[in-house]
Amino acid sequence: MTNDAPKRVLVVDDASLVRLYYRTALESAGFEVVEALNGLEALEHLLGGHFDLVIVDVNMPQMDGISFLQTLRAKSLPVSSIPAMVISSEAAPKRVAAASAAGANFYSVKPLRAEAIVQYASLLCGARHG
């Protein structure tokens, strides 16, 4: 990472072990990580502060990853243009298409190695949606 301010990543997953896994990987690479347990909580965080990337699981209670993205992209700029990486255990093309239509910049299938999370996050932090 450069010596700019650390990039802020919002990790959205209902499983605490998974959030911790992604957080540990990202923090060790210099990212600043905030966690949310579901889509609703994620929206609150995004509306309350600046983030460079959101990493979101598909299967979550309350508001799943796809509904979250649809809601996010319908907001007014600049929050709606934050890059989003969708993580799922499903690799079926129709799932990928659904995530893409909802506004995902990137779709990756679990399991993800720590190095891969960091690599994707580094690439996506510079991106913009829409």
Binding site: A15, L17, T24, S28, S89, L112, R113
Partner: protein
């Protein structure tokens, strides 16, 4: 629990502890208090006997076996998407179930792919309360690398560290007496049970009852890991021996 003559010191020490804690000036006074169960003394007394000093990454070879063999075997046998359930019983003050979670985060590349449920249970409600709090001293952490301590603990003061909240949220703690089927059964069935260094304290009948209860708590094909001095073959014929490079464990037959 059975304590034979060589354990006399252990018993005396625990009784003396409780006498001091309750301010009883003689054994007779303490015994009267215990019989009357004044201020829940029976529970306190049982707690005093079950406190087990332990540490993180104890019997690491079994944790290695978990990630090198047991989980893969279980995943092959399970429907896709079914959660992996791991039970640490007795879990004492939480070192074992948290060790399992940390080990998975550090050593199992599929940790984010599966829904993992870790349950820690103990008969001792005081130990469970400490487990939920997740604060440990230097000795308990002595087997962990500084990087691992840094990742999964926050310093409380110079002598103690607390497990990070995500990790505390990853383990569910419950009370259980493994000799009581009515208490073990509601915990459901697990893929892997860690039951280390408790059966040795039981008499033959209780030990067999506990083993039968734990058998019911295993999914068909599920594994149980005992302490390295313990052998299930001497306790119950229900289980099959499963030999792996890292450890010898026991398995509930698949059918």
């Amino acid at each position: 629990m059975i304590f034979t003559e060589p354990k006399r010191y252990y018993v005396e020490r625990r009784v003396t502890e409780r006498m001091t804690a309750t301010g009883a000036s003689s054994f007779e006074l303490y015994f009267a208090r215990l019989r009357a169960d004044l201020q829940g003394e029976i529970e306190q007394f049982v707690n005093a006997f079950t406190i087990n000093e332990t540490y993180f990454y104890r019997e690491e070879h079994q944790l290695a076996c978990l990630t090198s063999e047991l989980l893969a075997a279980r995943l092959n046998a399970k429907p896709r998407g079914a959660p992996i359930r791991i039970w640490s019983v007795p879990c004492s003050t939480g070192e074992e179930p948290y060790s399992i979670a940390i080990w998975l985060l550090e050593n199992w590349p599929y940790v984010d792919e599966h829904d993992i449920e870790i349950v820690g249970s103990d008969i001792d409600t005081g130990a469970i309360a400490l487990a939920r709090g997740g604060v440990y001293g230097k000795r308990a952490l002595s087997r962990l690398s500084p990087q691992v301590v840094d990742r999964y603990f926050t310093a409380v003061d110079a002598e103690s560290w607390q497990i990070v909240s995500d990790l505390r949220d990853s383990v569910r703690f419950t009370r259980v007496n493994i000799v009581e089927r009515a208490e073990t059964q509601p915990h459901g069935q697990f893929d892997v049970i860690f039951c280390r260094n408790v059966l040795i304290y039981f008499d033959d009948l209780s030990r067999r009852t506990a083993a039968e209860n734990l058998f019911e708590n295993l999914l068909p094909g599920g594994f149980i890991c005992l302490g390295h001095t313990e052998s299930m073959s001497r306790i119950s014929p229900l289980f099959e021996v499963a030999r792996f490079a890292d450890a010898i464990v026991y398995q509930r037959p698949s059918r």
